[in-house]
């Protein structure tokens, strides 16, 4: 990184620190009632206390687990279904319009149906998160398969490759950028739905924890939880784009 860029970065951190300072000032002067707005010092103290003596770590792991299971299930099912639909022209013309029709459905509307089916359980959360997270990946896979360079399919035909070989050797690699950006989008959806399910079903996780903190007017704990949720969102998105760069390196280096 060149020095000028580093300077800007440092200045940018200073600006962010300035905002935190402003927040502290507002809290210290009690411009907003401390019941609603704890200072950053109190939120930080609550964060440290939660991790050293409390069960904040367990709650964080709980939320991460809900997110990860649902997202993994959605990835597997979404890519498999997408490959099945995308690799056949007939399937595409029969199924793809229904998928496009379902896409703008606010996925959280499925929650009451899931509660009626599974009750307020972990299974309900898994179903809802997987259902919500599947759409970006499913549609990206279908679209990625449809957008494969047609000449590659001709080559596969002249080589007498089986359908499975075509999927794994041609279509999946060619559709991988679409699929991975779908997976990144799904991560955000999975986090949001994990929080909603925890709030509704009282499952062990940060979502329920922030709700309980709010009900008890423990605002420092509440802000600590929100900061942690932001951190989860940030870290998972960063991790995903690192994976993306690694997996797709062959595309930029080749050709």
């Amino acid at each position: 990184m060149n020095p000028a860029l580093l300077m800007w970065r440092a200045a940018s951190f200073l600006v962010a620190a300035g905002f935190v300072g402003l927040w502290q000032l507002v809290a210290n002067l009690k411009l907003v009632s401390p019941v609603f707005l704890p200072g950053p010092d109190r939120a930080w103290a609550s964060l440290v206390r939660g991790f050293t003596s409390g069960d904040l770590l367990a709650k964080t792991i709980g939320t991460l687990e809900h997110m990860a299971y649902g997202w993994l299930l959605a990835s597997i099912v979404g890519i498999a279904l997408g490959a099945m639909i995308g690799s056949s022209k007939a399937m595409r013309s029969y199924v793809a319009p229904s998928l496009e029709f379902l896409r703008p459905l606010p996925v959280s509307a499925i929650i009451p149906v899931a509660i009626a089916l599974f009750g307020l359980t972990q299974g309900m959360a898994l179903f809802v998160i997987a259902f919500g997270a599947i759409w970006p990946m499913l549609l990206a896979t279908v679209h990625g398969f449809a957008a494969v360079e047609p000449r590659l399919y001709e080559v596969a035909r002249s080589l007498h490759m089986s359908r499975l070989a075509v999927i794994f050797k041609i279509a999946l690699p060619s559709a991988s950028p679409d699929i991975i950006s779908g997976m990144r989008l799904s991560l955000t959806v999975a986090l949001i739905l994990a929080v909603v399910c925890e709030i509704l079903a009282g499952l062990d996780g940060l979502g329920y924890w922030v709700l309980l903190s709010a009900r008890a007017f423990r605002s420092a704990d509440l802000f600590a939880g929100v900061i942690l949720l932001g951190a989860i969102g940030y870290v998972t998105a960063q991790a995903m784009s690192m994976v993306e760069q690694r997996l797709l390196r062959w595309r930029t280096s080749g050709h």
Partner: protein, 254 residues
């Protein structure tokens, strides 16, 4: 073309018929499923007694108010960040720190600060809508043909005029796209807030139907929410084509 249409309709129609026959033949009482005909009846009843219309109004009002609020903030910030490069660089860490906070995590904060009702929902929707509009309008402003900016300089336009007469018109197609995406997000967030906690609108109605063990009414609300989501998106796509021509849709990121 009509052949394609038939193929598109085949799957949903087959599913509906199978559901209807299955539900009638087995005759099981379920808390989660109902025959499609019963769902249609429940939907018609909800329209007849006006409950679904009121709930739709509440949800759409909160979603649009949040969209306007968040959109105005996001657009102002996005244009400012797009024009002044140093400002953009200075705000980078702050924005990257706030953006990944899932909007729904603000729910408990909004709840204790504002209580149940419209205001709390609007604030959460606005927070969710700021980011896509900020990011996309910033990119739209940056991608404006540099010669246009030079022209505005040569004409010695004031900064206000430059934004009004050059930058906003040039970036408008992509800004509209940002609003279209944000409108979808606004509806999703509004329904989610209602399902999670806020006792107004479609989300609260569908939860009430579930708790009252009325699967027909619950599924009727689900279908209706889906239709609204579809109509909102389709309407905005048509508006986008109409206002900016098909070229506006071509370069869109999926």
């Amino acid at each position: 073309m009509s052949g394609e249409r038939w193929k598109a309709a085949a799957l949903p129609v087959a599913l509906l018929v199978a559901l209807e026959i299955g539900a009638r033949a087995s005759g099981i009482q379920s808390d989660a499923l109902a025959p499609p005909s019963a769902v249609a009846v429940a939907l018609a009843e909800a329209f007849a007694d006006g409950s679904i219309i009121g709930a739709t109004r509440d949800t759409l009002a909160s979603a649009f108010a949040g969209l306007l609020l968040g959109g105005a903030v996001g657009l102002a910030l996005g244009i400012a960040l797009g024009i002044f490069q140093p400002f953009d660089r200075l705000m980078e860490v702050t924005i990257e720190a706030l953006r990944p906070i899932p909007s729904i995590a603000l729910l408990p904060i909004a709840l204790i600060a504002l209580g149940f009702g419209y205001r709390m929902e609007i604030v959460i929707v606005a927070f969710a809508c700021v980011w896509p509009i900020l990011i996309l309008s910033r990119a739209a402003v940056r991608s404006i043909e540099p010669r246009l900016i030079e022209v505005s300089r040569a004409l010695k336009l004031s900064p206000g005029d430059r934004v009004r007469k050059i930058i906003v018109p040039a970036a408008l197609p992509r800004i509209f796209l940002a609003f279209r995406l944000a409108a979808g997000i606004a509806l999703i967030v509004a329904v989610t807030v209602e399902i999670a906690i806020n006792p107004i609108g479609l989300g609260a109605s569908i939860m009430t139907a579930q708790q009252a063990l009325r699967p027909d009414l619950m599924l009727a609300y689900l279908v209706w929410i889906g239709l609204i989501g579809y109509a909102l998106n389709a309407g905005l796509v048509v508006a986008q084509k109409h206002l900016f021509g098909p070229a506006a849709l071509a370069g869109e990121a999926r």
